[in-house]
Amino acid sequence: MGKIRETAKVISQEMLVKDIYSMWIETDIAKGSVPGQFISVYTKSEARLLPRPISICEIREDALRIVYRIAGAGTREFSTYKAGDSIDILGPLGNGFPVSEADNSRPVLIGGGIGIPPMLELAKQLKGDKTIVVGYRDADMFLDKELEKYGRLIIATDDGSVGTKGNVMDAMAKQDISGSVIYACGPAPMLRGVKAFSEEKGIEAYISMEERMACGVGACLGCVCRTKDTDDHSKVRNARVCKDGPVFKASDIDL
């Protein structure tokens, strides 16, 4: 199914913890969406030109859920939307996680901070014996209660207030976590740790990359990441995060 740009309707919105919001949107985009994809959300002001790329947290037949952090004026505007308000979105964008291809007998799902939301829909769709590792700054946790329904949940916090003190990789090491495949989304240092871990243990890892975007559809070449080999589209060692990704095999990316 193709991409849709539409003025959709907000079904509900709530603040989960300070600066983290959850919004359900009624949209036709839901039909073609898979976990790990994202949508572009447009502000109502032409003075804010660029769409905000936000990952899909949950998918229903006719609705999508996004969970996002207020990072500036654009996402602050989104946080004021109420049930019934309109919201301009485009999607589904990107490739998503390879739910049907990998060995999903014992998947490990790793989310750091605002990289946690896409792990919820992924956890719901994966069938195997799941371990879900999440990292937060402090005890202001979100989506943890929902995630623990779908697998063994391991928590790390920067300040040590809950779970292992440190990041998700510290928690992985401490609990001696292993599995058949790794899916990860989070900040670049975390993804670097995941890549190193997967290479050391010989486990395939799929990582969701983040980069500053403009068009969101693969035309402007703003959001490239460095690939190990020459990319087929660019003919240089650059892949487009918005179109070729955001999910890549960790072994294909230079981090």
Partner: protein, 307 residues
């Protein structure tokens, strides 16, 4: 489906090439149309202007390459492109499926680089060439040819000797007097001019205490630059006789009409494609609505009507 509209003539002519309407998109904001063809019927556009292509693949600049500023954005992509071989095989092949004009934007580091691309395109299905001598984000070539009148004259005349298609020189706004550049290009035989490219700019991320872009500077585009662009199109239209393609922050038909009335024979939509992928077709529909409302039978009546 677009029905034939005899009552309102939107067609324009630039250097002997007829365009069904004066609306195209700005190079670099639209790839070669592939990605946006999921939203926009490319057959409706006056032309597709491709992203700049060089003789060999270019990797472009490190990221972050883009950021938003009030009323616009900065970019420092650095003309990443797959090189002319892939471009001809893939991009030009794709564009053959559409009934629209094809303008290929050409970039290079040396005059010879430009000439190689121009020569390779001579037998291809390309209607016009747009020569990028104004990208502010690459260190060699490009901008160096666009900021000195004698260098611009030299590269224009050499390209004109090689080119089989009409040549558009894309001018930089980052000069003291754009009419001096326009006159140099015209004197060297340029068939048309396009302006403006982006304005060199900077944003600082106060939280990281760093430049927002890895390249430190980038090119400003979007509605924020429109009044500067309209002024430069007007000045250039007063200075030269060759046709002008106007661009800089066009978001709707009203913006496009300002450029046309200032002297542009055609217009290009750039950064606003990112805000709304349908901007080009909205501009086309809006131009027709304006003509109907104001009893303008031929859009050419409006070109340069404000003196």
């Amino acid at each position: 489906m677009e029905t034939v509209d005899n009552k309102y003539d939107l067609s324009v002519n630039i250097a002997g090439v007829t365009f069904k309407n004066p609306v195209m998109e700005g190079s670099g904001t639209f790839g070669s149309g592939m990605e946006y063809s999921e939203f926009v019927d490319l057959n409706r556009l006056g032309a597709v202007v491709t992203k700049g292509v060089a003789n060999v693949p270019w990797p472009g600049n490190p990221t972050p390459r883009v950021c938003e500023v009030y009323g616009g954005m900065l970019n420092a992509i650095g003309l990443q492109n797959p090189g002319i071989d892939t471009f001809i095989e893939r991009d030009l092949e794709f564009l053959k499926n559409y009934d629209t004009r094809v303008i290929v934007n050409v970039c290079g580091k040396t005059v010879e680089d430009y000439l190689e691309v121009v020569e390779r395109l001579s037998d291809e299905a390309v209607d016009m060439l747009e020569i990028n001598v104004s990208c502010p984000n690459v260190k060699e070539g490009a901008i160096a040819f666009g900021q000195k009148a004698d260098a611009l004259y030299d590269i224009t005349s050499r390209i004109k000797k090689t080119a089989k298609q009409p040549v558009i020189m894309k001018l930089s706004p980052n000069v003291t007097d754009i009419t001096e550049m326009a006159r140099a290009a015209e004197a060297a035989g340029a068939d048309a001019l396009s302006l403006i490219n982006t304005i060199t700019a900077m944003k600082i991320d106060i939280n990281r205490r760093a430049f927002a872009l890895a390249n430190k500077t980038g090119g400003l585009s979007g509605p924020a630059i429109k009044p500067v662009a309209v002024r430069m199109v007007y000045q250039t239209a007063q200075a030269v006789k060759i046709p002008i393609i106007g661009m800089g922050g066009i978001a709707n038909a009203e913006d496009a009409l300002e450029f046309i009335m200032a002297g542009a024979s055609a217009v290009a939509v750039g950064a606003m494609n990112f805000h709304d992928p349908y901007t080009t077709v909205r501009v086309i529909d809006g131009l027709r609505d304006y003509m109907e409302k104001n009893h303008v039978g031929d859009i050419k009546e409006l070109i340069g009507c404000v003196k």
